[in-house]
Amino acid sequence: MSSFLAFTLFGLFSGAAYAIAASGLVLTYSTTRVFNIAHGALGMVMSFVFWDFSVRQGMPLWLALFLVLFVVAPGVGWFIQRFVTRGLGEGPVSVSLVVTVGLLVGCIGLATQIWPPEPRSVQPFFPGSDVELFGIFVTAHQIITIALSGVVAVGLYVLLNRTRIGTAMRASVDNPELLKLFGGKPEQVAALSWAVGTSLAALAGVLLVSTVGLDYYALTLLVINAYAAAMLGRLKSLPLTFLGAMSLGLITSYASGYLPTDGLLNSVRNVVPALFLFVVIVAMPQAQLRIGQVKGIVSAPQPSLFRALGWGGALLLGVAFLATAFGESKLLLLGTAATYAMVMLSLVLLTGYGGHVSLAQLTFAGVGALAYVKLEQANLVGLALSALIAAGVGALVALPVIRLTGLYLALSTLAFGVIMEKMVFQAEFAFGFNGTLGAERLSVLGVTIGSTAAYVWVMALFFVLMGLALLWLRRGTLGRMLIALRDSPAACGTLGLDARWFRVGLFGLSAGMAGLAGALYAGLRGSVGAAEFQYFNSLPLLLLAVVFGVTSVTGAALGGVGLMLLPVFQSSNPSAAGLIFAVIGFGAVALGRDPNGLANQLFKLGRLLDRRFGTKVRARIPVLPAPGEAQRRMHAEAEANAGAEPSLTSVGLHADGSVDVPLIADPSREVGAHAAPRG
């Protein structure tokens, strides 16, 4: 009985901390429509700052707490709203997700760099002053936490219901237009809510850190708990969020108390929040299609088939050359780059064309690898089956969220990644805890590709084939539908497209591509383990894909090489390990608004060079046709039709169909589909 009470108390304690974190999340999301995936990461950084102030610099506890909660955290929140997430709420969800994932990765990098891993501990408040209540020990820290959650609840109630700016905040939850009518300043409301939200994340972090420990990842994952709790209130209702948080705290606590300590059920205790999340999501009512949002106006550059074949051939030649020149270890790196590039290709389909974000793409690769190993069919059939299994799993992940919007889909992939890693990949029936499984090299039509050099070339071949297939898809009916669906789901709905099944199919296809990459990778390495498919690594993967250009095959190839180089760079500069993540994270924050990425800058450079030297070169080698001739002609015709010569170039449409317009259209622009003339 007393153990039950103890678990209840602990559940209430952690529930209270989740409630504090979750209410911050709800506040920022509902006022600015930007879901801050970095919410937990900000709490993590703030806990480190708190440790730094109170332990390292020896400030009195109250001063450190005051500085963190009322100066640093609100300042950081204000800064982020002002300079990072401003205006993201009106844009596509995929962009705000990428930017806040960048923030998350950046926060982890920054924390690792400033506070390198070493044992640190933070004492609970008033250690030693436990009291005995109904036969169990209650710490002062727990009482304070539970009381603080009450204070936060009352404080938020007063803020939202009894103050002017609070009224404006509530209005902006329901209707931003209404807010403007009331004379509210949306910018002020947004800044205040981010300041308060970050402060709440910090408070939750500081309260939990004595139990969870100062850990870069554990506190970052707090966002899943907070999100799961907030989902009960549909990311809107604060009372329901508190209820969700308390239930989650209790369930987690009972799970850790009463679940058996061996077998599959043992691993459940690590993933209770993620499972809770799935249950709540499945029970969520149908979401309504959003209309009137500012649409992304970015198009993937579409090379002509001739050009794509040329580049594909050149890539294969290059890899063949490298394969003969490289030794075994470098070949393995090259193969890894090809794997990542293929996984990023799956993101080109999903994110670049489809506008959806997956935070678990590497997990799908892991599923493919696992299937390949378990099937023990090292041939094309086994490979296809592995991809198919990964595709099926991908579709299964998308299925529960079929009725909801892109945000929920992305967040449930994060939960899925966590569940897979902690419950499945490390289980005995899969890779095993810290274990690896042997895999055989692929054999094609009975010929085993034994040499690593040949195998890497075959991987490059798969990349090229997948890239070509993707381009073919993009040019056809399905590609147009994908783009249409990304630009306006509401219009697609009213034209008769059932976006839900389309989305499940898209998700499955993308997961299948990642699974194929994973299977090939298993064959390359000869042995694979759970460590190679950690869910967290899906985040830098996504970010690099976006930074290098998630709308083009070129971007995927470059991104693959970039991601492969990361660990190489890290092991040669261990002291800068965190810095790299910080650079990637904040780089994505800066560049995440333009998914065309660096690849597009390369295309632009290419066009520039072509304009300056192209004619000369072609004059010398008469067999070379001018690239993009057909499109150029169309372009010229269109310009002639429009009458005014500069009209098209002014929006940055180039001969090959690529664009360099910012993702967020300037709503004040005179012409254009986004210049809504009236309220």
Partner: protein
């Protein structure tokens, strides 16, 4: 029986009642107007009819069947098409591809997957020609003027050959001659047997082409009838001007204590003006105000 019937529909957003027991109908072969001051709930009605917004109460009947809980895409398959007040053109596609996608969707995703080629270019171009935007066929849809984009949305829904067309302020952004052509096009479309329900602020167009008009104010239908009947209706004048010409002294709709923003409506912009702006902050009415 009318093709479309909106039956006592209520839509509430939090405390705001955007549509309040609205009842109206649209008949095949006729152009029906839906007018009302800003924030009267017209667009919300369209969202309810097309399925983008679930009504709090009430029913929508279409083609003899209740569709209140039928999802958006299936209503479209049954023959509803709509355009949007805030444009929803596919910005990254060309104008032609916008219509082509619509035609492809109409044929069904499976038809598209089976790779039966895409919809005939001729059919698509004929549609562009019909609404008068063929000159823009190769331009990206986010680079064309607003009026053209509205016509594009119309062409896009015509690709699905709908029985009912819901047009939300289709003429804003068009100049005078274009508006006249557009009026003729509407009459043609109605003559083909389609029902057209149109939200419009250009009163000349509304009075010129509509067979019947419903006037919405604060979410309720306050008048229905022919253009002449509606024009002479005292309640309509009151809704638009804030007072009926006869009782000039007494302002209508005095704001309640809980809704200070809902005061008189005297400063509502005048009819027939598509440059209408929302009334000044603080003084203006709370659109669709909660009462």
């Amino acid at each position: 029986m009318p093709l479309l019937e909106v039956d006592h529909v209520v839509v509430q957003f939090g405390g705001v009642t955007a549509v309040n027991e609205a009842c109206f109908a649209a008949e095949a072969g006729r152009v029906t107007g839906l007018i009302g001051p800003n924030g009267a709930g017209k667009t919300t009605c369209f969202n309810v009819i097309s399925g983008l917004q679930k009504p709090t109460r009430g029913a929508v009947r279409f083609d003899g069947r209740k569709v209140t809980s039928v999802p958006v895409h299936r209503r479209s398959k049954r023959g509803m098409g709509r355009t949007f007040q805030r444009l929803e053109a596919f910005g990254s596609l060309s104008v032609r591809d916008n219509v082509r996608v619509a035609a492809d969707i109409h044929r069904g995703v499976l038809g598209a997957v089976r790779g039966l080629g895409s919809s005939s270019r001729g059919g698509v171009d004929a549609l562009l020609e019909r609404v008068g935007i063929a000159a823009y066929a190769d331009e990206r849809a986010d680079s064309i003027p607003t009026g053209t984009a509205r016509l594009l949305e119309l062409a896009r829904c015509l690709a699905g050959d709908p029985k009912l067309l819901l047009l939300d302020e289709p003429s804003s952004g068009l100049d005078e001659t274009e508006t006249d052509d557009f009026g003729d096009l509407l009459r043609d479309l109605a003559a083909e047997g389609r029902a057209i329900l149109m939200v419009e602020h250009d009163m000349d167009l509304v009075m010129g082409v509509c067979d019947e008009i419903h006037v919405l104010d604060f979410g309720s239908v306050i008048a229905s009838g022919t253009p002449q009947e509606v024009r002479g209706d005292a309640a309509v004048q009151k809704a638009y001007l804030g007072y009926a010409p006869e009782d000039e002294a007494e302002p209508a709709h005095v704001g309640s204590a809980e809704h200070p923003a809902e005061s008189t409506r005297t400063d509502l912009p005048v009819l027939s003006d598509d440059t209408t702006v929302l009334p000044p902050v603080g003084a203006g009415p709370l659109p669709g105000g909660a009462r």
